[in-house]
Symmetry: C2
Subunit: 360 residues, 2 copies
């Protein structure tokens, strides 16, 4: 097949890890005789430096016309980088929020699983981790508090700031369907997380999710309050299969879930819209302190490329090849420094990319 | 001294644990010749059963006129208890939100520390927990999303729900001061948690917290994004001394923090207003499944009573006596079932209360 892929290097380690993912995509494309056409766009801090904004309209148009977008990482260290002096809508993250909105990327999929080979890095004690865990968080990505109206006003010398959390039932329904569809292909359990004992938006959320559940007779649905979910991730992560939640809760919980795996450098993510266009990026950040050193772990980005093949291009077999190659590389003891343990084979960023290619 | 203490048994294990805490208060009162006068009020499910509402106006008046309020726990299992069919404002938790608002309890203090004697229960692996951790979360409790305007409307057959997150600078300033005051008596570090890369309320939060910090020259202030904080609690809890945050982030993070201690049955909490009136309660819930069995752990409630003596009555020495007694009980190997490990001495709820009294 022929496909247009937009590449966004971004900031920090972004360029290095995208380079390896592209290598891997090319290996698959050769093996299966596909033709992938790549177009680079700027986003984040590098775009601010060049154009004064984190994402230009031209760049958005290019992304919109692509079949899929692969992103490295954007931004720097908040509060400790030149970009954070500028107005909020001109910061690196503003580009991320903008592309999500413009491309309608309402469903953010974040797998969080314990790699058997990397279990030592798991911060949880063995009694909890030995059973293993493997969940996917489905986070609503274009609604809620991060996209509602917000303002700061001053009355009689007192500043007041307001943010608004808004959800309509259609926004909830479409992301719930994504979660149930994914659960259908997994262990058939959805845990929907909300704060329905307090918030109106959470009560509507729970309501609509229950309506959607009626169309998925073989899926078990449970509801969990967000404070409890934050506890359960630590105490009993094995109970989760698909976790469905709204934007802000998903932001917090998906990062917590990544962290309990101990291997955030391994975790990909996909953000999907109503057609097949998706944005794929590693779950980790731009890691400015190790940028340019050829030591970053490219695996999360490589696995994001696999998700790209599966969800945007429908190339399941090709995606599987990449995932198997990564698994084999791990099994054979190859490691970047972030996941290195004694006795293993230490590889640089580019060596890791080459090794994965070799196994494809 | 003479003091009026309002007792709220609440639901589930509430009555059992409050009974033990009262025993301990009485022991201290005898030792130091104080006179504590107790008045019981109903709140939560039991109040719904009696009066149809989770908290009556009469009950609030009694609490308002007291020097301090000690609460067991309210509510049942959400979604699995008769009270959760009723309208949101008639549910057990509505009583909790109402008493917070009516008493102006804007600062919620929740210590989360690893007990050396109970370190085995910590869900984190030894490499992380061996350094120990001891933090206090200061959560703003009467503002933000849980108290803003909310409504659900239907337009053209589509339901939309809205919640509003509002903070003014005075609300932020007063809770920030509480956090800095506490840090002054501890390890002199405040980490303020927000989502300032997206929310207006968080940007105002960060701003005001920095203004307050100017009056506390010896305290180090750091800012951390909430998604990162959820990760750091798991990876490196030892870095936190005082964590300052807004209502909803505090709800999620304080539960996560309790859980990483592995001893949620041990953790007290205090909710303070601008005068000295405070509400004290254990960090755990009403545990309906073990109610009435005399096996619940009363220590969190007993330690909440110690916080009551310290913060509302200014009785530091008496509070210290309770805390020391609890420590000694643990050191001598006495345990309720939730914290029992082999070789220890298993005690019932009432035996644990008696044992603490014995050590006072
Ligand atoms: C950078 C920020 C706006 C973003 C978010 O909170 O959505 C990030 O934390 C993420 O989770 O992708
Ligand atoms: C019951 C609920 C309203 C309450 C809250 O979220 O404030 C509880 O979770 C807590 O943390 O005390």
């Amino acid at each position: 097949m022929k496909a247009n892929i937009t590449l966004i290097n971004g900031d920090g380690i972004g360029p290095e890890i995208v380079r390896e993912a592209k290598k891997v995509l090319e290996a698959v494309s050769q093996k299966y005789n596909h033709e992938f056409i790549y177009t680079d766009i700027d986003m984040g801090g590098c775009s601010i430096d060049k154009y004064g904004v984190p994402l230009t309209d031209e760049a958005i148009e290019i992304a919109k016309s692509a079949d899929a977008v692969l992103l490295g990482a954007v931004g720097g260290n908040v509060g400790n980088s030149k970009w954070y002096d500028v107005a909020p809508n001109l910061r690196p993250e503003a580009g991320l929020l903008k592309i999500r909105k413009e491309l309608g990327l309402f469903a953010n999929l974040r797998p969080a699983l314990l790699y058997k080979e990397l279990a030592d890095a798991c911060p949880l004690k063995t009694e909890i981790s030995k059973a293993g865990f493997d969940m996917v968080i489905v986070r609503e990505l274009t609604g809620g508090l991060y996209f509602g109206e917000r303002y700061t006003k001053e009355t009689d010398g007192v500043r007041t700031a307001v943010d608004t959390l808004v959800y309509n039932e259609n926004e909830i329904r479409r992301v719930a369907k994504v979660a149930f569809d994914i659960a259908s292909k997994r262990r058939k359990k959805v845990i929907s997380v909300d704060k329905a004992n307090v918030l109106d938006s959470s009560r509507l959320w729970r309501n609509v999710v229950e309506e959607v559940a009626k169309d998925y007779k073989d899926i078990t649905l449970e509801h969990m309050l967000v404070d409890n979910a934050a506890m359960q991730f630590v105490m009993n992560p094995g109970q989760f299969d698909v976790v469905l939640t709204e934007n802000m809760f998903g932001d917090i919980l998906s990062d917590e879930a990544s962290m309990i795996t101990g291997s955030i450098g391994m975790l990909p993510s996909a953000s999907l819209n109503e057609s097949k266009l998706g944005l794929y990026e590693p779950s980790h950040g731009s890691a400015p302190d190790i940028a340019g050193k050829n030591i970053a772990n490219p695996i999360a980005t490589v696995l994001s490329a696999a998700m790209l093949l599966r969800y945007s291009l429908g190339l399941d077999k090709e995606a599987g090849d990449i995932e198997n190659a990564v698994e084999k590389v791990l099994k054979d003891g190859f490691r970047t420094v972030d996941i290195y343990t004694e006795g293993m084979n230490k590889l640089s960023t580019s060596q890791m990319g080459d090794k994965i290619v070799e196994y494809i």
